[in-house]
């Protein structure tokens, strides 16, 4: 949650333009799953840089540790054992965390002005001091990423090290990755790098290798190179065609403006009815003659 303020593309619950005179280059983190060895150095680097220590958990009998993202664990390795071809076991390890969508569902759903911002470099950042703890971002996110802290009722997630990036450094996880599975740079460069990797993977028999940069959310600023891009679900449920849920779009895109206007119109109708038709008063004599008894 860096506090740059001149390069904001959009801001939650804000209807006027955000300060955006400074234009920065679109960045991206590329996660090459074919190079990941699951060492979790990135998890350690994340907690080191952000100075967070999650509760010591228990061993669940699997490599995933912690088992899920939390308010203090902003990235976790997810291990999947799949056998696409009989007898050929593949161990797919996906670094999970915020995807930094170009069209962020969290930001769309958030009712607190400025609690979620998107910088012109593409990073989607939570400003927890403005967060009111309603959890709408959790409802809006197509990737199930934000986590509400039990300690302070604020939501937390990966910042893509916006504080480091804003001063020209790469995210802590990228800095520490020993195999080069994580790379960081301009989005353009990362797409190009991914294409080279895909050519290599295809030459080694992974015919469906491809880049995961889902268009349903406008593309993401965290992308994956997948050996099996045709089946992202096998990577621990990575959604095949993620997009902001239609229900959330209906709620925030349609109902929010229309119903707000509607309530204003109802009140205005009353006012003008009173001004034109006037109050309904009963005069003593009129009553007697109308309902004579």
């Amino acid at each position: 949650m860096a506090l740059q303020s001149l390069d904001i593309t959009s801001r939650s619950a804000t209807t006027t333009p955000s300060p955006g005179v400074r234009q920065t280059q679109k960045v991206a983190k590329l996660i090459d799953i074919s190079k990941c060895i699951g060492c979790k150095a990135c998890q350690v680097a994340c907690m080191e840089w952000n100075d967070l220590r999650d509760e010591i958990g228990t061993n669940h009998g699997v490599y995933d540790n912690p088992l899920d993202l939390t308010d203090k664990s902003w990235t976790v390795m997810r291990f999947s054992e799949v056998e696409l071809e009989k007898g050929k076991l593949e161990w797919l390890i996906r670094k999970d965390g915020c995807m930094h969508c170009a069209d962020p569902g969290c930001l769309k759903a958030c009712p607190a002005p400025g609690a979620i911002v998107q910088y012109s470099n593409g990073i989607v950042d939570f400003h927890e001091e403005h967060c009111i703890g309603c959890g709408y971002c959790i409802t809006g996110c197509p990737f199930n990423i934000p986590r509400l802290s039990k300690k302070d009722d604020k939501v937390y997630k990966c910042t893509l090290c916006s504080d480091r990036v804003s001063v020209g450094m790469e995210p802590a996880c990228v800095k520490t990755c020993p195999t080069g599975a994580l790379v960081f740079g301009s989005k353009e460069d990362m797409i190009q790098h991914a294409e080279e990797r895909i050519v290599d993977l295809k030459s080694r028999g992974y015919n469906n290798a491809g880049l995961y940069d889902p268009p349903g959310v406008g593309g993401t600023h965290v992308m994956y190179v997948l050996q099996h891009a045709d089946q992202p679900q096998i990577y621990n449920g990575l959604p095949k065609d993620p997009q902001i849920s239609l229900l959330v779009e209906l709620w925030k895109g349609v109902l929010k403006p229309i119903m707000s206007l509607g309530l204003g119109l109802v009140a205005l109708t009353g006012f003008f009815h009173y001004m034109t038709v006037g109050p309904n008063e009963v005069k003593e004599d009129a009553n007697e003659s109308r309902h004579g008894r």
């Binding site: 619950a13 607190a112 009111i132 309603c134 509400l148 229900l247 009353g270 309904n280």
Partner: protein
């Protein structure tokens, strides 16, 4: 008009119950609007800021649901929809134009009041159930994200219908000026009933 001629439309307990419902409904509507559209976010100032609004809104909502539940128990018998009510609704143009002479005889409540009653029964029930599903941090974690998406939508829709209905109700109170004569004129069926036994 002397005191002997007064009729009691609502008992003190009915009135207290109505006003508890009214106050909590206004508070819950203002805090809900504040979180619904940024144009209304400034309303959070009345509740001590955004976070306090988020904390208070559901609790006020529960008080509203309980208060209205009791009110509904008191009033539901008088709110059964009759054929005369259907006729009243068909003549809605006469209603808004103050042409009361064209309307069927009305009992304790007119069809508009009865409709509001049933709108409130339905929407408050929906708001309570959907509100529990999205209530952070207490209950929302029990439910799937898919279900919370349905719940926020139902919550917003029901709140809109309820708020619009209540605005109409408040306006009707301003529009219709009422006294004993008003009762004779607007609720003659009920007036005859309550004045039975008096001269």
């Amino acid at each position: 008009m002397n005191d002997d001629n007064l009729i009691e439309r609502f008992k003190p307990a009915d009135r207290a119950n109505h006003w508890l419902t009214a106050i909590t409904l206004i508070l819950v509507a203002l805090s809900g609007l504040a979180l619904f559209h940024p144009a209304f976010f400034w309303l959070t100032n009345f509740f001590g800021g955004g976070t306090w609004t988020r904390i208070l809104h559901p609790f006020i909502g529960v008080v509203l649901a309980i208060s209205f539940g009791l009110l509904a128990k008191r009033f539901h018998a008088d709110n059964r929809i009759t054929d005369a009510d259907r006729e009243w609704v068909r003549r809605f143009r006469d209603v808004v134009a103050n042409r009361d002479q064209n309307l069927p005889e009305v009992g304790r409540y007119n069809a508009g009041q009865k409709l509001l009653f049933w709108v409130m029964v339905t929407t408050i029930a929906l708001l309570l159930v959907s509100g529990i599903v999205i209530w952070q941090p207490w209950f929302a974690p029990w439910f799937s994200i898919g279900l919370t998406r349905v719940a926020v939508l139902i919550h917003a829709l029901a709140a809109f219908v309820l708020t619009a209905g209540v605005i109409v109700h408040i306006y009707a109170v301003i529009w219709i000026k009422g006294t004993l004569t008003w009762a004779k004129h607007h609720h003659p069926g009920w007036y005859r009933e309550v004045s039975k036994g008096t001269k």
